[in-house]
């Protein structure tokens, strides 16, 4: 668990060009930062670019960054802002963005979108693993292999009705599993924050 003090130490190391510390930071945050950027941009090469730009900036300007909260939050916010700016600039219209998400974020203190999203994804993955075998398979085929219900039915040699039932059951079960998970995540967040301040 990191504190602002430790985060500042990381930045100090990077400001004297300590590559090990820099690489470690990248390894720690790359996936979640890429994913949050990808959530907005929906273009892998752009998301990659955004994350790289933020880290290049960190490498060059680490000594000048003043953290008002955690480094993790700082990175998340930098990536989200850069992604949103890119969206505005390129006027990419996308159905994936709710208008509310584009609101100005000036008043927020510790809102770590990247971490929240990563936690959601990991919880989702856990919930999927708890689904019964065939149901899990159908759900993954539909989302990860991007197959239509009819195609799944053909590949597995089952009726489309059965595919529908698996999916319906699967999503309902996911929701149940995740609702438990949300309570736990909420609890952890409270503990985490009380630890920080």
């Amino acid at each position: 668990m990191s504190t602002v003090f430790e985060d500042q130490k990381i930045l100090n190391e990077i400001s004297i060009q300590n590559r090990q510390v820099f690489d470690k930071l990248y390894r720690q945050y790359y996936k979640k930062l890429f994913t949050i950027s990808y959530k907005y941009l929906r273009r892998e090469e752009m998301a990659e670019e955004v994350v790289h730009d933020v880290f290049i900036k960190i490498w060059n300007l680490a000594g000048k960054i003043k953290l008002s909260y955690s480094l993790s939050g700082y990175l998340s916010r930098a990536v989200v802002n850069a992604s949103l700016n890119l969206l505005k600039r390129d006027r990419i219209t996308t159905v994936h963005i709710e208008l509310s998400e584009c609101d100005d974020r000036e008043n927020e203190t510790e809102l770590n979108d990247a971490e929240i999203l990563e936690n959601q994804l990991l919880a989702l993955e856990k919930a999927i693993l708890r689904l019964p075998g065939q149901c899990q398979k159908v759900l993954l085929m539909s989302k990860f292999d991007k197959l239509k219900q009819q195609e799944i039915a053909e590949q597995l040699g089952i009726s489309i009705k059965t595919v529908k039932n698996h999916l319906t059951y699967g999503y309902k079960k996911l929701r149940e599993n995740l609702e438990h998970a949300i309570i736990i995540v909420f609890f952890i967040t409270i503990v985490y924050r009380s630890f920080l301040y």
Binding site: T35, E44, K143, K148, L167, K172
Partner: protein
């Protein structure tokens, strides 16, 4: 799927949501779904919740396929280019394509290039303490700088005056032959002149050791005209600075340049020797926990294998167990 009735109200609409996702929903059903969403805010919230699951599943798919290491090496190369534009422009180093990413990464920190902009420009190449680095000199000769080493040369006229200085440490050179412009490397008052060969040169507390892999070199004092000794392939010479004595001999350690080419030969070597050679070649500590094991013998040849790979083979052959703590590998009896 006990306790599951697909015909409950919620399940019916979930199925419609799934059909809509599938792009396979009838006009009638679409209307039905739309009406249901407008009916109560709970319905709309439920609809949005399932949509968020679909989105997150897509994201999870992407998330799971991410490769941090390859992304990091792309980042390194981007930074290598933007951080050291003079390197690219003047082509001081032309890096092998296969090692490009790694080398670019090393460029960032492991290798500090100091270029003095007063002519002639001196280039300093420094490696960090954990890894050897490879590069190609302006004349096409190749150099591997062992960990913790430093060399300098003048870039301005290198092709006509091929002179390096070994400031500290060790390097392995594969020199491109050019009869017109001889190649030499200096350490203090010692000059090693090379006539189109590959050789290793390293300094440790008051000694300079030159080992010839191919071809021939001459070792000279003060200037290139006073020849102390000539060495042929397979020979080495050790010069003691304080006593001003040079000793010539045969290369005994087949692994003297393993840090450069990761080619290791163990011919009935003791485990202690194996551990030492591996540590020198890969810059990681290898500790034998049981002193009785140190005299166990091992024979094998490895070409460009990873340290992990080699350790696994050694462990299998000698029935050892390995554990890794930080940068240190421990070997003990199974």
């Amino acid at each position: 799927m006990e306790n599951f009735d697909p015909n409950t109200n919620e399940s019916t609409y979930l199925q419609l949501i799934l059909d809509e996702q599938d792009g396979n929903i009838s006009v009638n059903d679409a209307q039905k779904l739309s009406d249901w969403r407008k009916l109560t805010t709970e319905n709309e919230e439920l609809y949005q919740l399932f949509l968020s699951y679909f989105t997150n599943l897509d994201l999870l798919d992407t998330y799971r396929k991410l490769d941090t290491e390859s992304s990091l090496s792309v980042l390194h190369s981007k930074m290598g280019l933007s951080d050291f534009p003079p390197v690219k422009k003047t082509k001081i180093l032309s890096l092998k394509v296969s090692r490009w990413a790694a080398a670019a990464a090393i460029l960032v920190v492991g290798l500090m290039i100091t270029i003095y902009f007063s002519a002639p420009r001196m280039v300093t190449l420094t490696s960090n303490n954990n890894e050897a680095i490879h590069f190609t000199l302006p004349d096409g000769s190749k150099i591997t700088l062992n960990a913790g080493s430093k060399i300098t040369y003048y870039s301005a006229d290198f092709n006509h005056s091929r002179k390096l200085e070994l400031v500290k440490g060790e390097c392995f050179l594969e020199v491109v032959h050019n009869g017109k412009y001889p190649f030499s490397i200096e350490h203090h008052n010692i000059v090693v002149k090379d006539i189109g060969t590959s050789f290793n040169i390293g300094s440790t507390d008051g000694h300079l050791t030159v080992s010839v892999n191919e071809g021939e070199v001459s070792i000279n004092k003060n200037d290139a005209n006073f020849v102390m000794v000539n060495l042929k392939a397979g020979e080495l010479a050790n010069y003691n600075f304080s006593q001003d004595k040079i000793a010539k001999g045969i290369i005994q350690d087949p692994n003297y340049k393993a840090y450069a080419d990761h080619h290791l030969i163990f011919n009935n070597a003791t485990l202690a020797e194996v551990a030492k050679s591996l540590a020198l070649a890969y810059h990681q500590k290898v500790v034998i926990e049981d002193s009785l094991l140190k005299n166990r013998r091992f024979t094998a040849e490895f070409k460009k294998k990873s340290l992990n790979n080699i350790i696994t083979v050694v462990c299998k052959a000698l029935q050892l167990e390995q554990t890794t703590k930080g940068q240190t590998i421990y070997l003990k009896k199974k």
